[in-house]
């Protein structure tokens, strides 16, 4: 499908077939290439210090910032919210479009049960009150990738309200303190996603892809309880982990499955809230924090220079590192909300209110869904700390990477090594290798079993930790080999022959009388030199502790 170029498309972007997300409306995601290139291209992270009192002049009060978020999470389901079309990322354009999605006249919405269940489950995980009756509304605006001219959403009576999201921020450097904060959740509503517009500058055309049109979204509205970019980014991250743990959304920001709009204002503490702006389409956690902080700074700067903040919609220019007003929202939109007449009220039940003899296929029981709730990230972290005695920040680190926790737990299952040792290997060496090569956990060439075996070798002192690192590198390079194979091929096992080791120590002592003298004179460092020499002589195959023991015995008067 092609339409003439949208008039407001003149944001001065340079690329030829630029993907511009729908901007001002309901959290449209940027198209793929755009987002991911942003993500990869920019490495510096804006972890700016908490808010306020930026260079406040003498005699002026501090500033406080207030941040609220609207988050759109694409529901992970096989089919769309109101039609049977499949949901699939990056399918050929317009290949997943039913008659309803293309808004052919006479078609009607039919609510997808899976999407309702996902909304209920998410609501429960976020401590929401689930409304046993919720309603659907039409929100009208003309846009090329909104075929019906309206979006079906839940404006008046959403499916879940009054929840909360706890997230933790680390404060200070080692030892860091973990502080838990809570943001209130105003509501969660079910709504349709829009299609995507691709603007072809050369031909002055807009191309429309309706694959995404009608995909189910959860709009999660976070109250303005946050005060800086980092808090917002951390809250979003926690929400992302929760959604992924629930399986209700894949919540991949790069694929547009999680999209964030932020409402930002600043004021003097104790005074009324300031005028807010809305920063749209924040599609990676990094830019989310940076965009919010730069908007806070901008507002403070404006106000300190005697200017006013306009209630406007802005977008974040990641190249310039600041927010810019969006041009397509000049006039005030009146969405002309109206009840969706083709969908009866959505009724949910609990075990108490369930009508007797109700067909389980026809009703949704909130209590059944509550029973199916999996372990949530906060509970997982708590369990890790209790079960393995690891540090709180390590528990965060283990959850922060997709699949890392599972990897860790699989290693733990198969190894005798201490959990702390495992944690250290997984978070430092394993994760380090992944990051270096920009790989996901499931792309790792080293399996949990291989690492477990390696840690077992280390644990029973069959190899030194230096050798272990060497084995790990080898494992990373040559898939298919077991750690034991590598150890024996490379002859990395520790010398178990006590006599040979004694002989080696003896030879070294003979060859370095000066160092021996130093030891005897009481230089505590000199013995390390001897240990090093013995290790070198044994091609690093000797256990330094054992060497030290022998040397000390031989050197003792």
């Amino acid at each position: 499908m092609a339409a003439p170029m949208l008039r407001w498309w003149c944001l001065g972007r340079r690329w030829l077939l630029a993907c511009i997300d729908g901007g001002s409306r309901h959290g449209r995601g940027a198209a793929i290439g755009f987002t991911s290139s942003r993500k990869r291209g920019q490495t510096s992270v804006a972890q700016q210090p908490l808010i306020t009192s930026q260079k406040s002049r003498k005699g002026e009060h501090e500033w406080a910032a207030v941040v609220g978020l609207e988050i759109h999470a694409q529901i992970s389901s096989n089919s769309k919210l109101f039609s049977g079309s499949r949901v699939h990322f990056a399918a050929p354009p317009n290949s997943l479009v039913s008659f309803f999605d293309a808004s052919l006249p006479g078609t009607l919405p039919v609510l997808n049960r899976r999407c309702v269940e996902a909304a209920v489950m998410t609501g429960l995980a976020l401590n929401c009150c689930i409304n046993k009756k919720s309603l659907f509304d039409r929100k009208h605006y003309f846009y090329a990738d909104l075929p019906a001219g309206y979006q079906i959403t839940q404006q008046r009576l959403p499916i879940a309200v009054n929840g909360s999201l706890a997230y933790s921020v680390c404060v200070g450097k080692k030892p860091s303190r973990v502080i838990t904060k809570t943001v209130r959740i105003k509501q969660i509503q079910l709504e349709q996603d829009s299609g995507k517009s691709l603007h072809d500058e050369l031909r002055s055309q807009t191309l429309i892809d309706l694959n995404r049109a009608g995909v189910g979204l959860l709009e999660v509205v976070l109250e303005p309880d946050m005060s800086c970019g980092e808090e917002a980014a951390t809250a979003v991250r926690e929400l992302q982990l929760i959604l992924q743990a629930l399986g209700t959304s894949r919540a991949n920001m790069a694929e547009g499955q999680l999209r964030v709009d932020a409402n930002v204002s600043v004021h003097h503490p104790g005074e009324p809230l300031g005028v807010r702006t809305e920063v749209k389409n924040l599609n990676s956690a990094k830019f989310l924090a940076k965009a919010i902080d730069s908007e806070i700074e901008r507002q403070i700067h404006e106000l300190e220079n005697g200017r006013e903040i306009l209630n406007e919609t802005r977008s974040f220019d990641y190249k310039l590192g600041c927010t810019m007003p969006m041009r397509d929202k000049e006039g005030k939109q009146d969405y002309r909300f109206m009840p969706e007449p083709n969908l009866p009220p959505l009724l949910l039940y609990d075990t108490e209110s369930l009508p007797p003899g109700a067909d389980p296929q026809q009703v949704i029981n909130i209590d059944w869904i509550r029973e199916q709730l999996p372990e949530l990230p906060s509970e997982t972290r708590e369990r890790l700390i209790q079960q393995y005695g690891i540090l709180p920040e390590h528990s965060f680190a283990l959850l922060n990477e997709v699949g890392l926790l599972e990897f860790f737990q699989n290693v733990i299952k198969e190894t005798r090594a201490e959990p702390k040792k495992v944690t250290s290997w997984v978070l430092n060496i394993f994760l380090g290798f992944l990051k270096q090569q920009n790989l996901a956990v499931n792309e790792s060439p080293v399996t949990p079993s291989a690492l477990a075996e390696l840690l077992n070798l280390l644990d029973r002192k069959a190899i030194s930790s230096t050798a272990a690192k060497q084995v790990f590198e080898e494992l990373w390079r040559s898939e298919g080999k077991t750690p034991s194979q590598i150890v024996s091929e490379k002859q990395l096992e520790l010398m178990q022959d006590q006599e040979a080791l004694e002989q080696a120590c003896h030879t070294v002592m003979e060859g370095h009388p000066q160092v021996v003298m130093d030891v005897k004179r009481g230089n505590p460092r000199a013995i390390n030199k001897l240990i090093g020499l013995v290790r070198k002589a044994t091609l690093s195959r000797a256990d330094p502790t054992a060497i030290k023991e022998i040397l000390e015995r031989k050197l003792s008067p």
Binding site: F99, T107, L111, A148
Partner: protein, 527 residues
């Protein structure tokens, strides 16, 4: 043969008195002869002949699909028909060929019905005359009937006879005319404020509006989603019941249809009405009501009373607010439903390509007529944030009051309400177009549209001919989902009044069937 009812012709098919192909050809030839009525926008001749051929094969094998197998039907052109152009009588949808069948169309085809074509209407069903469509007005077959012509001759009139034709009423005027002119045995209409019952009354056929939610709207291009229902137009009540039996029931594609299964049924014959309570709503005695209609209405009430039924005056106190309430709700939904017609995915698209917005504006200006554009404008006004409470919410509250009026009356023991369907008989076109669409719709829907607000079943039954020789219909309104009981009572009434059959000798050139018709003609409710 064409003058028979659906049930009669179905029997004839089963007995082999006629084959589906012969029947189809007869209808096609009559459609051609009556082309000037403008009842059809599209005649699906090829499809019809093919369907008839297949039906014939089934009959030969003794595997007929049932009462509808081989029966020529017509469908209002606001129902999606797969592979057959569906225009809503609008430039916006000229050339639009849906890729799917409306559920009701599919159900008819599954029963072996033969689709003759798509019938004319007011653009997007907005109107009460079938005069405001992009394909021109529909002419009422009664304009050419012997009954009407003879009466006209008695009166001196200087006007040109050609421009002297009558409107069908609307918006399902094409379907009503198609059934009245014997070009098919049943037709689908749609009914949002009276669009099936109004033309049925003007064309002397039965027009049935089922309970909201009993029949699927999937594929019906909406006017007002919360009031639209597919309507059924036939030549007798029994036929409407047969078609309803085929269409009723849950549709997974329409979430507003009832969950309970509906079984096909045969309408029993009511012999005794003494147990019935008939309500006569006093608010329906409108000053604009013609004396003739009023007189037939009271005669009908007397008829029930004389047969032992209890006939009581009842009150529906909020009736007078119905029109204005309907106006707000209808235009609001219209504004919303019409938003999809932007020229992008289907339908008309203008040549302007300066910008998407300019393209939208020009496409919609070219595609919609003044009536549609006017309603879109009004509806958007009512939906504005600042107006929503004052108009839309209030109208919804009034709608609830109107619906409650009916609930109260039925709870008081009334079985059906008896009312006029229209203020008077069909008006001549030239007279009709003197008023604008809005005024006319407001007047013409007065007796029919509160029913849609309440989602109740209602049926217009032709009663008798006026002094001018034109049909007059009366309406029965039933309790929600008591459609069968309503039709049962309507069937009894129909039998009592013996409405005369239209005499269209000039059109039909089929002496045998006309003489058959004449045999039936008698009027029991004489002036």
């Amino acid at each position: 043969m064409l003058g028979r009812t659906l049930r009669e012709v179905s029997a004839a098919l089963k007995q082999g008195q006629i084959t589906p192909t012969e029947l189809c050809q007869k209808c096609l030839s009559l459609i051609k002869k009556t082309k000037f009525l403008n009842a059809y926008i599209t005649v699906s001749e090829e499809v019809a002949l093919k369907q008839a051929e297949e039906s014939e094969k089934r009959y030969k094998k003794g595997r007929s699909l049932g009462d509808l197998d081989g029966i020529p039907i017509a469908v209002k052109d606001n129902f999606s028909t797969s592979g057959i152009e569906t225009t809503c009588a609008s430039n916006m949808l000229k050339g639009y060929v849906p890729p799917y069948n409306a559920t009701v169309v599919q159900k008819l085809l599954d029963q072996g019905a033969v689709l003759m074509g798509k019938t004319n209407l007011d653009e997007f069903a907005m109107g009460s005359g079938s005069t405001d469509g992009a394909f021109g007005p529909v002419k009422n077959p009664w304009s050419y009937s012997k009954q009407y012509r003879e009466k006209r001759k008695q009166k001196p009139h200087g006007e040109n006879e050609d421009s002297d034709w009558l409107i069908t009423g609307g918006s399902s005027g094409g379907s009503a005319a198609a059934v009245a002119a014997f070009t098919c045995f049943a037709a689908l209409g749609s009914d949002t404020g009276g669009s099936t019952r109004n033309p049925a009354a003007h064309c002397g056929v039965v027009g049935f509006k089922p309970s909201y939610g009993l029949v699927s709207r999937h594929g019906l291009i909406p006017l007002v989603n919360s009031m639209d229902v597919p309507g059924i137009l036939t030549r007798c009540v029994d036929d409407a019941a047969i078609v309803l039996g085929m269409l009723a029931g849950h549709d997974p594609k329409d979430s507003t249809t009832i969950q309970d299964p509906v079984k096909p049924f045969t309408l029993p014959t009511l012999t005794d009405v003494s147990e019935l309570c008939i309500g006569i709503p006093k608010e329906y005695l409108a000053p604009e009501l013609s004396c003739e209609v009023r007189s037939f209405w009271s005669k009908a009430a007397n008829l029930f009373e004389s047969e032992g039924a209890k006939v009581i005056e009842v009150s529906l106190p909020h009736t007078s607010y119905s029109i204005v309430c309907y106006h707000v709700l209808c235009t609001s939904e219209v504004a919303s439903n019409m938003a999809r017609f932007d020229g992008l995915e289907y339908g008309h698209r203008c040549d302007i390509n300066v910008s998407t917005e300019a393209m939208y504006a020009a496409t919609r200006r070219e595609g919609f007529n003044d009536v549609v554009r006017g309603r879109i404008l009004a509806g958007n006004f009512f939906l504005l944030k600042e107006n929503y409470e004052n108009y839309f919410i209030k109208a919804q509250k009034v709608r609830r009051l109107i619906a409650n009026d009916f609930v109260k009356v039925f709870n008081s023991g009334v079985d059906v309400l008896l009312t006029p369907t229209t203020l008077q008989e069909a008006a001549p076109y030239l007279e009709f177009i003197k008023e604008d669409n809005r005024t006319r719709s407001a007047q013409d829907d007065i007796f029919t549209q509160a029913v849609n607000m309440a989602g109740l079943p209602a049926v217009s039954v032709p009663v008798a001919l006026s002094n001018q020789g034109l049909p007059i219909g009366l309406q029965f309104i039933g309790r929600a989902f008591c459609d069968q009981q309503l039709l049962k009572i309507a069937k009894w009434f129909e039998k009592q009044v013996q409405f005369p059959v239209i005499q269209l000798q000039e059109l039909m050139n089929d002496g045998s069937s006309v003489s058959e018709i004449e045999k039936l003609a008698s009027v029991s409710l004489k002036h």
